[in-house]
């Protein structure tokens, strides 16, 4: 009996070893940056971050000075605000427009409905690179390159195929009786949409909102193209990319800046894990 138990544990040891090694490998890079962001510039350049474990509870070796400096002196505070200014409308506008379109495609009859819907979903294959040159020329002509409204519209256009597709799939699955009884009760189309369809679609909308928000927050390429190099409008991703270029060896700056940029998506991840995972999985095909 006992021997068998021991043998079973031994047989499973390789599984535990493999899993724990992988988990440690996955955590170490982030842990190193987290610890480094709380060390002084002098310590960082003198010793590896792992040396703090020789005396982990000697708190005098930690400092929040790096965060103070990146947020207020290196412009990460400004960049954080810019990221919010970009991401919030960059999420609300496309989801709002997509909800109307998804409802139209799912429950209204009009000529060309199926064909148009296939085209909308088909637009998912277009890599964003295909759009940069003409849109940037258009933005320059309209004098909105390097401004927030420009990038809001860009993220709206790029986010629509996926948001329409996902919300359509959900709304199309709502029971038909719902619409029949709403019609009998004399509800207008808009009332049906606003009072019945939208409240019932909250789980789907939540996933789409989280995906779009994290996608816009973490985006570098679109910001790089339409906002250019100006620090006044740069989001966190752009600010870090610039810091890597200009302060490449100043790890006290880079590590703290990286954590400032990661803070919000990580909070979303830990507080809304289920929706977050669902949203990311559903949104992975985005261009």
């Amino acid at each position: 009996m006992i021997l068998q138990g021991v043998r079973r544990v031994l047989a499973r040891t390789p599984i535990h070893v493999v899993l724990i090694v992988i988990a440690i490998v996955w955590m170490l890079p982030t842990l190193g940056v987290l610890i480094t962001s709380f060390r002084s510039a002098h310590d960082i350049s003198q010793t590896g971050w792992w040396t703090v474990f020789e005396h982990p509870f000697q708190f005098s070796q930690y400092t929040v000075e790096n965060y103070d400096s990146v947020i207020f002196k290196e412009g990460m505070g400004r960049a954080f605000v810019n990221s919010l200014i970009i991401s919030i409308p960059g999420t609300i506008i496309p989801v709002f427009i997509a909800a109307f379109a998804a409802f139209g495609f799912a429950w209204m009859k009009f000529p060309g409905r199926t064909a148009l819907f296939i085209v909308v979903v088909g637009l998912l294959v277009i890599p964003l690179q295909m759009t940069f040159i003409p849109i940037l020329r258009l933005f320059k002509f309209l004098h909105i390159s390097g401004t927030f409204p420009g990038i809001w519209f860009a993220h709206t256009g790029y986010g629509l195929p996926l948001t329409v597709y996902l919300l359509h799939n959900f709304m199309a699955g709502l029971p038909r009786d719902l619409f029949d009884s709403a019609a009998i009760d004399g509800a207008s189309t808009f009332q049906t949409f606003a009072r019945i369809v939208v409240p019932l679609s909250v789980p789907a909308i939540a996933s789409v909102v989280i995906f779009q928000f994290v996608w816009v927050w973490n985006d570098l390429l679109v910001a790089l193209i339409y906002l250019g190099g100006s620090a006044k409008v740069a989001p966190v991703t752009l600010a870090i990319a610039n810091l890597v270029g200009s302060r490449g060896q100043d790890w006290q700056v880079l590590t703290a800046a990286a954590f400032v940029s990661m803070a919000l998506p990580l909070v979303v991840f830990f507080s809304l894990q289920r929706y977050f995972v669902r949203g990311i999985l559903a949104g992975s095909v985005k261009g």
Binding site: W26, A101, G157, N218, I240, L281, V285
Partner: protein, 289 residues
């Protein structure tokens, strides 16, 4: 649902208008521009395409994208599969899953910064502050310039960052599919005397295959467009160039709109077949459900 004739258009028109403006019109215009010179003033025929397929840096970019597609896809899918199957057998499944999935919340820029620090390099004799060189030196080796050592070491190191970011994605999808396999099938095979490897090869893998295929094509489409990691970590220097970074450089550093457009069209041509396969398979799976 009964509506007035124009009502549906009120609902779908804003989306259609924005899609036309931001995706349809620019795509067509980019194809046109790809046949023009750097300032889009005179027609040059296929010259930009000929350039793209003969210029040495472009050829390096094609080669590197091929390496990315191969290694990134193989590693993310295989690791995801390994984790999905093994984690099902342990009690701390949820914790490890979170650990592996967390990088999906981090931007590629953030991840690149994190890994640049792992790869940090100082000459032999100096105190190493990067984790990887710290380990190498502790084991008695010579420090390595991970991001400079061309062409294999640095490209592998960049791909590792991508694998770190996206394995969690593959794991979650494959794990969900794995948990849908009826347990009796595996038990029956074990009772018939199959060892664990045989159960995996003959029972689990065939049943997981449709999901594996979708995950693989998704990874290929994603990695063909890889940009951020290369842009932040090496900016394509030391033979690490990729197609998307090249396009960015042609557009912004060299202001050659014709060439940038041609590269974008080539990227589209590479992606379309993969997306068609993916959407077809996805729809077939939905039809089964």
């Amino acid at each position: 649902m009964r509506t007035k004739r124009w009502t549906p258009w009120v609902y779908v028109a804003p989306a259609l208008a924005l899609l036309t403006l931001f995706l349809v019109y620019p795509s067509i215009d980019t194809i046109r521009i790809s046949f023009y010179d750097r300032s889009v003033s005179s027609f040059v025929g296929f010259q930009n395409y000929i350039y793209s397929f003969t210029n040495p840096t472009m050829l390096t970019a094609f080669r590197n994208n091929a390496i990315w597609v191969l290694l990134f896809t193989v590693f993310t899918v295989c690791l995801g599969l390994l984790l999905a199957v093994l984690l099902d057998r342990v009690r701390y499944e949820r914790i490890v899953k979170s650990v592996i999935f967390i990088p999906m919340a981090i931007s590629m820029v953030g991840a690149s910064t994190i890994w640049k620090f792992v790869y940090a390099f100082r000459p032999a004799g100096a105190q190493q502050i990067g984790l990887l060189n710290g380990i190498v030196v502790a084991l008695g080796g010579q420090p390595v310039g991970w991001l400079i050592e061309r062409p294999w070491v640095n490209n592998f190191c960049l791909i590792a960052v991508g694998v770190w970011l996206w394995t969690g994605f593959c794991m979650v999808l494959l794990s969900a599919a794995y948990k849908n396999i009826p347990r009796q099938l595996m038990e029956a095979a074990r009772i018939d005397g199959a060892n664990e490897w045989q159960v995996f090869r003959k029972v689990i893998l065939p049943l997981l295959w449709p999901t594996v295929a979708v995950v693989m094509t998704t990874m290929v489409v994603f990695v063909l467009k890889i940009f951020d990691i290369v842009y932040v970590m090496t900016n394509g220097n030391y033979s690490t160039e990729v197609i998307a970074n090249r396009m960015y450089k042609e557009q912004f550093s060299f202001s050659n709109y014709g060439r940038a457009a041609a590269i974008a069209v080539i990227l589209l041509m590479l992606i379309v077949p993969m997306m068609v396969i993916n959407i077809r398979r996805f729809r077939r799976q939905e039809a089964i459900r």
